[in-house]
C-alpha cells in the first residue's frame, strides 16, 4: 500500500500512527477474522468513545478525533470490523469485542454505515444495554434509501475494482471547494484502495441489504446527530427521517464539509462530540478521566 496523500504524510497523522499501536483482536472462531483497533486516552475509563467508520474507511480515518479528544482526557477507541455479512453477525462480533476489551457500556460515534451499525447494536442490546449514547455523522436509520437493495446479494462476487469504482463515483457530489475537503477526499481514496474485496463487499452488503432501526426502542438514549447541510451525501428528506426517529436528539448541523466532516471539519465535529460527551461528566458513564466541563472548547 502506498501512502502518498498529503494527510498520510502529515505530522499529525504520523504522530498518531507512531503513538498509538494498531491492534488486531480476534473474537471469532475463524482467526483470519480480526478487528483492527486503536485505543488511546486513559485506560482507566470504562465508557470510552468508540468510532465506527463508513464503508470506505479504515479505523485510522478518525485520527483527528483520537488526537484531539484524547488530549482532553477522553478515551477514544477506533474500531474496524472484519468482514461480516449481516448486521446480526456484526452485532455479535462487536459484543464479543466489547467483552474482550472489558467494556460494559460505550459511547458510539458512527459515520454513515458506522452510524447505522451503532444504532443496530444499540437496538440489539436494548434489553441489556451496552450503549451509553450515540453520535451519528451523515448517517441513516433505514437502508431502503440506497439504490443497491436488489443487487446487494451479489456484492460478494464482484471484483474489488468494480466495488471501488461504485464507491468512488459517490465521493464528490459537486467539486470540492476548499482545500480541506480536497485533502480529505485524497486521503479517503487512498484508504479505500487499501481495502480487500471481501472487506468492501461485506460492508456494501451491510449497507444495502434491506434493514432499518427500530428507533422506538431507543427513545431513552442520548443522541447527537451531526450532518452537513449543503453538498451532503444525504438528501434532506433522508436527514429529516432520522430526526423523526430520534426526537430527543441534539441536532448539530454543519454548513459544509462533504462526506467526511470528521476529517474535513474536524474542529467543529470534535466540538460537537465534546458537547455531547460532557453530559456524562461525574457519572459512571463518563468518557474521560476528568470532567470535560470548563474544558469543552478546543483552545486552538
Amino acid at each position: 500500500m502506498s501512502n502518498i496523500s498529503e494527510w498520510s504524510q502529515s505530522a499529525e497523522y504520523l504522530s498518531f500512527r507512531s503513538n498509538v499501536p494498531l491492534r488486531r483482536i480476534v473474537v471469532d472462531s475463524d482467526d483470519s477474522k480480526g478487528w483492527r483497533i486503536y485505543d488511546c486516552g486513559p485506560k482507566s475509563v470504562q465508557s470510552p468513545l468508540v468510532c465506527l467508520p463508513p464503508v470506505s474507511g479504515t479505523a485510522d480515518i478518525f485520527f483527528r478525533q483520537a488526537l484531539a479528544l484524547s488530549a482532553r482526557g477522553v478515551r477514544v477507541i477506533l474500531a474496524e470490523a472484519p468482514p461480516y455479512w449481516s448486521t446480526k453477525e456484526w452485532c455479535d462480533g462487536f459484543r464479543r469485542l466489547l467483552d474482550y476489551l472489558n467494556l460494559s457500556r460505550v459511547h458510539l460515534f458512527g459515520a454513515s454505515l458506522g452510524g447505522y451499525l451503532a444504532q443496530k447494536f444499540a437496538e440489539y442490546t436494548c434489553s441489556c444495554p451496552r450503549v451509553a449514547s450515540i453520535s451519528l455523522c451523515n448517517s441513516f436509520s433505514d437502508t431502503s434509501i440506497f439504490r443497491g437493495n436488489e443487487s446487494a446479494a451479489l456484492y460478494w462476487m464482484l471484483p474489488a475494482l468494480v466495488l471501488k469504482k461504485m464507491l468512488m463515483s459517490n465521493f464528490e457530489p459537486e467539486p470540492a471547494k476548499d482545500s480541506d475537503t480536497v485533502k480529505t477526499i485524497d486521503f479517503m481514496v487512498e484508504k479505500l484502495d487499501s481495502l480487500t474485496q471481501s472487506e468492501l463487499a461485506s460492508r456494501l452488503t451491510l449497507n444495502c441489504i434491506r434493514g432499518y432501526v427500530e428507533a422506538h426502542k431507543l427513545r431513552d438514549l442520548p443522541v447527537t446527530i451531526i450532518d452537513v447541510f449543503n453538498g451532503a451525501p444525504l438528501s434532506s428528506p433522508v436527514r429529516e427521517e432520522l430526526y423523526k426517529c430520534y426526537p430527543q436528539a441534539k441536532l448539530a448541523h454543519l454548513k459544509t464539509g462533504g462526506y467526511f466532516p470528521f476529517l474535513s471539519r474536524s474542529a467543529e465535529v470534535n466540538l460537537h462530540l465534546l458537547i455531547h460527551l460532557r453530559q456524562f461528566d461525574n457519572t459512571p458513564l463518563a468518557s474521560s478521566e476528568k470532567p470535560l466541563i470548563n474544558n469543552s472548547l478546543p483552545d486552538s
Binding site: L67, A71, E268, I275, S296, L297
Partner: protein, 208 residues
C-alpha cells in the same frame, strides 16, 4: 433546485455574564424562562426552524459562558457565523461598557471578510426591571456609531420583543449569507496548522 436549498444560519450570542443570554435563547427556542441562575458552562447551542419570506431557515444559536471573556473560544466556535448578537443588561451599566470589547473579540476571532458590514444586533435586556441605568437613547447612539446596528429592548422574563429581535437577527444573518461566499474558503490554513502542531508537540496528546 437552488431555491429549495436549505439554509443554516449560525448565530452567536455574546455579552457579560448574567445579562440574560441563556434566558433569551431559551425564551426564543423553548418559550421558557427561569428565575434561577445557572451559569452556562463552556459553550452550547440550540436549533430552531423559522420561516422567512417563504423560506425555511434553520437557526443554530450559540450561547457562551461569560467567564470565557477574552479567552479564545476556539476557531470552531466562531467559524461560519452569520450574525453576532450582543447583549447587555439595561440596569447594569458595566455590561453596557463591555460591549465594545465583545464586538472586538468577535471581529478578531471570527475574522469576517468585511468586518464593517458584518451584521451585529444589540439587545438591551431586562427592561422589566427598575431602575434603568442605560437609556434607550444612549444605546441607540452607540448603535449609530457602529454602522447603524439594529437595537431591541427585550425582556427574556416577559417574552417582550424576543421574537421580533430574533426575527431581525435571522433576516440580517440571511442577508449576510446571500451576499457572501462560503466563509470557510476564507479561513487561512495557518489556523489549522497551529492546531496540528499543538496536538503533535505535546508528547502527552495521546496517553497510550
Amino acid at each position: 433546485m437552488a431555491s429549495n436549498k436549505k439554509v443554516l444560519l449560525k448565530v452567536i450570542i455574546l455579552g457579560d455574564s448574567s445579562v440574560g443570554k441563556t434566558s433569551l435563547m431559551n425564551q426564543y427556542v423553548n418559550r421558557k424562562f427561569s428565575n434561577q441562575y445557572k451559569a452556562t458552562i463552556g459553550a452550547d447551542f440550540l436549533t430552531k426552524e423559522v420561516t422567512i419570506d417563504d423560506r425555511t431557515v434553520t437557526m443554530q444559536i450559540w450561547d457562551t459562558a461569560g467567564q470565557e471573556r477574552f479567552q479564545s473560544l476556539g476557531v470552531a466556535f466562531y467559524r461560519g457565523a452569520d450574525c453576532c448578537v450582543l447583549v447587555f443588561d439595561v440596569t447594569a451599566p458595566n455590561t453596557f461598557k463591555s460591549l465594545d470589547s465583545w464586538r472586538d473579540e468577535f471581529l478578531i476571532q471570527a475574522a469576517p471578510r468585511e468586518p464593517d458590514n458584518f451584521p451585529f444586533v444589540l439587545l438591551g435586556n431586562k427592561v422589566d426591571l427598575e431602575p434603568r441605568a442605560i437609556s434607550a437613547k444612549r444605546a441607540q447612539q452607540w448603535c449609530q456609531a457602529k454602522n447603524n446596528m439594529p437595537y431591541f429592548e427585550t425582556s427574556a422574563k416577559e417574552g417582550l420583543n424576543v421574537e421580533q429581535a430574533f426575527l431581525a437577527i435571522a433576516k440580517n444573518a440571511l442577508a449576510q449569507q446571500n451576499q457572501s461566499v462560503d466563509l470557510y474558503n476564507e479561513f487561512p490554513d495557518q489556523i489549522k496548522l497551529t492546531n496540528t502542531q499543538k496536538s503533535n508537540g505535546g508528547g502527552d496528546s495521546c496517553a497510550c
